[in-house]
Amino acid sequence: MSLVAEPGLVAEDERSASQPRRRGYAAYVGLKVLGAIGSLCFMLVVNFLLFRVLPGDPAKTLGRGRLTSQAQVDAFNKTYGLNEPLPQQFLTFLKNIAHGDLGISLQYRLPVSQLIMDRLWTTLLLVGTSTILATVIGVYLGIRGAWNRGGLFDRISTGASLTLYSMPEWWLGLLLIAGLGVGFGFVPGLFPTGLLHSQNVDPNSLHGVFDTVWHLVLPVTTLTLAYLADYSLIMRSSLLDELGEDYLQTARAKGLRDVQVRNHHAVRNALLPTTTIIALNIGFVVSGAITVETVFSIPGLGLLATDAIGVPDFWVLQGTFLVASAGVILANLAANLLYGWLDPRVRT
């Protein structure tokens, strides 16, 4: 995939020699950062409007059909600023966000920002570990499979990847809980499910750290398996696309070992499309975290949002959406920067 047109073959031979193009990486980074800031602004607008145009009046919904006097509704709307015109509300919204104020949770009576900060690390731990594991394992499987296409390893890993790829992550999670968490027959449950700490264990002690890791095994395995399939299939097909390329023949002719040809030449090029997909996928991993946190009762952002839907706790929902979208935008920015570093063609 060439993102930039090749210079014409008929181009005068000495043109580019006299005028080296070295706009380079800095300009590329600047452009991508500006793009990300634009996305963030757009996301703020959507985030604000989404919760204002939702059908249903918050005050009435929270009344759960009980008789509420107009005075009570007015008081509620005044407390939360809902009686003001939309543009005014938007300004207040922006001002509050700038101060890190995401409102007060209706359910917990606590600042939403505090609720989110408490749970953010849990979700980051879950999503981060799974993304790293899924990427590393998936890319490795894809490389090994493609390099010996049609071999035993390739057939097994492609078959397994396709099976995992077609499984919803909540179902995979339930299977793992049933098989490894609860145990069956005489087989005891091996791994804990639910929460991230055992009771009576100080999470800050060494023992507590191991305890957390132990609790993370099943949810992380679920998310990793659900996404590594995707990555291994993509890495495999992008590497297969590279295999017929002429530059690999050049590399072989130079006398490089097979492994050097693969790692230094083929994989570097095949990683380009894979990087894009992994970055785009981080959005889906966040949504996957919502289901997995629910299935495993892990107190992260996903569970916070799921619980908030039932109330409905508008400000918690708005806050978690905001954080999740910002996370996806940042992840995409990181991927863009990585992509520019991997592929010199997008820089110029």
Binding site: S2, V4, E6, P7, G8, L9, V10, A11, E12, D13, R15, S16, A17, P20, R21, E245, D246, Y247, Q249, T250, A251, R252, A253, K254, G255, L256, R257, H265, R268, N269, L272, L342, D343, P344, R345, T348
Partner: protein, 346 residues
């Protein structure tokens, strides 16, 4: 490292390459003999699909995985096809290097060209310091007429001609004894093509290394080469000194290739471009007898029973055609003669 002094630098002996394809066996090269001496430029001519690139790929044992190769590829007397991997890797690039066709894709798009030229140098002369490697790259780029500063460029920042110059610099990086140039100028326009060929042949002559140059353009080969081998449907149909093969071809196919390029100063040739009708045979279903017969303007009954063998016709000239020296032009009159000459192609 040198073999017996009598052995040529490169010798192909009865080389056969067969591809296993879904549609059956594809016999791309069928019994080719060829030799390149040090300091000699040997051309291989033929149209697309005649097996010349397949032949080039076997010299460094780079043939595709579905190819079966038999015969011998002797580089400095040692068979490349059977040597151990370690020895083969040492021969690759340090002994013989390749200027690939279509340099547009033969360079890795994500590495700077300096790194790509440096790669074989570092690989084959371990322990060479970074400064020496850099000096060597600058020297090589200068020799092919590129600014040494360009070492920092990526392939997409170079024009087609510049990329092909980089390929040449790369091919000479380890001072090989043999350079294989596989259609080195295919994707280039005519002016750049001439420049690149000049650079390549000058450097090869200067260093006294052997070169095997593959092209569909007989006129280019006639200019640059000492000897020319003409291939058709996987076999050698003519071999001889370059100028003679081009000016006075023995085989009707060489004649057609030669006539396909109008000569400057010959007005008649300009208005009557001599093309060759028809396509080369499907290598999966070769015709019996002479494989060129279906397209040959001189084909006759006598051509059909068996594939003609290469035979010597003059000092240093070989061709595979039973009709050479046969004055009759009309196939019909030849029918009676067929039996008399059958089985005695020379």
């Amino acid at each position: 490292m040198n073999g017996p002094t009598t052995a040529p630098l490169l010798a192909l002996r009865d080389l056969h390459v067969t591809y296993a394809t879904d549609a059956g066996l594809l016999r791309a090269v069928r019994g080719v003999d060829l030799a390149v001496e040090s300091g000699q430029i040997v051309g291989v001519a033929g149209e697309s699909g005649c097996g010349k690139s397949t032949l080039a790929s076997t010299i460094l044992r780079l043939q595709a995985a579905n190819a079966t190769v038999t015969g011998e590829v002797l580089f400095e007397g040692r068979d490349v096809l059977t040597m151990r991997w370690g020895d083969l890797r040492a021969v690759r690039w340090a002994g013989a290097s390749i200027v690939f066709q279509g340099a547009l894709h033969s360079l890795n798009p994500v590495h700077r060209i300096g790194e790509q030229v440096a790669e074989p140098i570092r690989l084959h002369t371990p322990g060479l310091g970074d400064a020496s490697v850099r000096r060597r790259i600058a020297e090589l780029l200068e020799q092919v007429g590129l600014d040494p500063e360009r070492a920092r460029a990526y392939p997409h920042q170079l024009s087609g001609g510049q990329k092909q110059r980089v390929m040449i610099a790369m091919a000479l990086a380890c001072d090989p004894q043999l350079v294989v140039a596989d259609e080195p100028t295919t994707a280039l326009d005519v002016m750049v093509q001439a420049q690149v060929l000049d650079v390549l042949s000058a450097l090869v002559r200067e260093r006294g290394v052997g070169m095997l140059m593959i092209s569909h353009d007989l006129s280019v080969l006639a200019d640059l080469c000492d000897r020319i081998t003409v291939m058709y449907a996987g076999r050698v149909v003519e071999e001889g000194p370059a100028a003679q093969v081009f000016a006075d071809p023995l085989h009707p196919y060489s004649g057609a290739l030669s006539a396909a390029f109008p000569r400057v100063g010959d007005p008649a040739a300009r208005f009557a471009p001599a093309g060759l009708p028809g396509d080369p045979p499907d290598p999966r279903q070769l015709p019996g007898g002479c494989s060129f017969a279906p397209r040959c303007p001189r084909a006759a009954e006598v051509c059909l029973p068996a594939e003609p063998e290469l035979a010597s016709y003059a000092e240093g000239r070989m061709a595979a055609c039973v009709r050479i020296g046969d004055p009759t032009d009309s196939p019909v009159e030849l029918v009676a003669e067929t039996t008399a000459r059958d089985g005695d192609p020379s």
